[in-house]
């Protein structure tokens, strides 16, 4: 721990980064256009890398540096690049359709944040890490991205919601336990990567069959 970082200052910086992360999640929830949605996702990845790096720097956990680097490489560079290429190849640049309008979604979001906070309060008190205060925010971001997936009616925004949830889980890991063991981190990263590749393959197949990426076409398998 370098000399000029007092415990109070680190706590405030971590809370600041967590707050920025929460703000970015709300922004993604309210975003209308896909391209800026992907940029917001990249920004979220970047803030996540910053917070992990800062925690690594503050607590001296060496393996956190590695996971910060991994996050940066995967969630800031590789995934957004893949998504941009997919959007260009599928030329689906039109804006995001939502099932319920944005203001009500935001209202729901607020309710979820309140719920997440008082739910995580007893748990974070027992956490041993300095970043235990941010566990409430981590749970809030998980629920927000879950809400985002529910309210989106296009395939790509739904996938981005899914990736945002992975981000929030990664952040929760660092908040609660200074990150999972390295082998698990690698496994999760590998799963996310393979997952995105497979979803890309699906985008092409759905485009080919339904010549649109609207999920409302995917409603024939049901019971009468």
């Amino acid at each position: 721990m370098s000399q000029f970082l007092t415990p109070a200052l680190t706590g405030q910086i971590i809370n600041l980064l967590a707050a920025v992360l929460l703000l970015l999640s709300f922004a993604m929830l309210a975003q209308r256009r896909i391209l800026s949605l992907i940029d917001l996702f990249a920004a979220q990845g970047f803030v996540l890398t910053l917070s992990t790096a800062f925690v690594a720097w503050a607590t001296g956990q060496t393996h956190l540096w590695w996971s910060a680097g991994l996050t940066f490489a995967l969630k800031v560079l590789l995934l957004p690049w893949i998504l941009h290429r997919l959007i260009r190849r599928l030329n689906v640049k039109w804006d995001v359709e939502t099932l319920i309008n944005i203001p009500t979604t935001m209202l729901f979001g607020l309710l979820l944040v309140i719920l997440a906070f008082n739910l995580a309060q007893p748990v974070s008190a027992l956490a041993g890490t300095i970043t235990k205060g941010t566990l409430g925010i981590a749970l809030a971001i998980v629920l927000l991205s879950f809400l985002m997936m529910i309210t989106r009616s296009k395939a790509v925004p739904q996938v981005i919601g899914f990736l945002a949830m992975e981000n929030s889980l990664f952040f929760a890991a660092t908040a609660a336990t200074y990150g999972m063991p390295m082998v698990v981190e690698l496994g999760i990263a590998l799963d996310v990567l393979v997952g995105v590749i497979i979803l890309g393959v699906f985008f092409f197949q759905i485009r080919e069959r339904f010549d649109s990426l609207d999920i409302r076409h995917l409603e024939k398998l049901k019971e009468e």
Partner: protein, 484 residues
Amino acid sequence: MSWEILAVLGIPLAGGVLLALFGHRRAAAELNVALSLATFVAAAALTARVVRDGPLFAFGEQFFVDSLNVFLVALTAFVSMTTSMFSRPYMRIEQEHGKLTEARLRLYHSMYQLFIFTMLLVLLTNNLGLLWVALEAATLTTVLLVSLYRTPASLEAAWKYFILCGVGIAQALFGTILLFMASQKLLGTGVEALLWTHLLGVRSQLEPTILSIAFVFLLVGYGTKVGLVPLHNWLPDAHAEGPTPVSAVLSGLLLNVALYALVRCKVLADGALGTDFAGQLMMGFGLLSVVVGAFFLARQRDIKRMFAYSSVEHMGLVTFAFGMGGPIASFAGLLHMTVHSLTKSAIFFTVGHAAQTAGTQMMDDIRGLARVSPTIGWGLMLGTLAILGLPPFGVFASEFLILTSAMRQQPWATPLLLISLGVAFAAVFRKVQPMVFGDTTAKPLPHRPALIPVFVHLALALMLGLYIPPYLAAWYREAAKLIG
């Protein structure tokens, strides 16, 4: 380090890679069978070793084998072997019907082996984080198999399967993180904090509030993979739209593996919470699954979809059994898991060939199987009677144990269970009987269907119904003690 574990995990992994390269050749199916056979031999050797000299560690406690997961490993290896035997003629007929190309067959064979690898990894790993990764990998490998036919319906099923299971599994990751957080205070921040055996040792000192929230997340996460009712929506689509060997393996094995993971977490939660909170939750979900699953069966028109709902119902029954706890209920749950996978996979084998014979999966258009080819017809009839819990078969034995221990521990739940079993019987048998009996103009299949697996499975189920060998009974009883 024991070579068995290395072999059990290595062969399917290597097989997956090998088939990725040569999957498109004629001999790919035979290679697939050979690899599964090798895996089964290794699993059998591992089982013998564990039975002989007790639980076994490997790779510095990263892998752990006790009596609970070794019988699941043996069951998984055996059923995947028989499914690969069944898939050889099935896939050749599908290819001749023009539904599959060479490339897709290659994808199928490699993904099949990788899928077996991920399931065996889930069963053998001691690290709960790695268990999560393997289960997520299992979902990934089967998503492509479900959409193998590229029909709109299979695409829709695959998409829902991926999104719903992805979200579900994500909840489980959050649960694992909380578990890791709770265990860090006692076992330090290293990887030991995630090893199940260590957690088992300190489970009574774990923090109850964290464990209860962690178990909720884990229950919702792994419950989605088991197909418990409010979270079951992906299951009928995924099991009905994929090729039949995939449905057989999904219904028969993947649900068991997910439930195994849930049971591992329940053991920890029980230790930490002291109360029966986890058991009651599982009982609630189990009962809901049995009742709702049974009523789903009545209006089905697609045969694979109907048997998928039957899987939802049976998994609900097993979850209910494990939720009740106690030696007899856990013993019954394990027995029901075994017999359900054997019978359900046998049914899917016959259903596959029946659908090919009639050219459709709609039950109203499949008639007179017993006349076209007696083996398929009688196989389906006996399999259906077995899965519906009619005596001489093993499913009745485990249902009898579950119901009788339910009458002793939870008398209020018994009428609900019995009514739903009755409704399920009425619904399924009304549809299957005209399919097997009656007259038809369909022609027999071009290739002789490999139905030895069906009758081997049914014979095993019949044996388990009438006479459970003493060493198998001791083995189950020991595993039941583990579950507590």
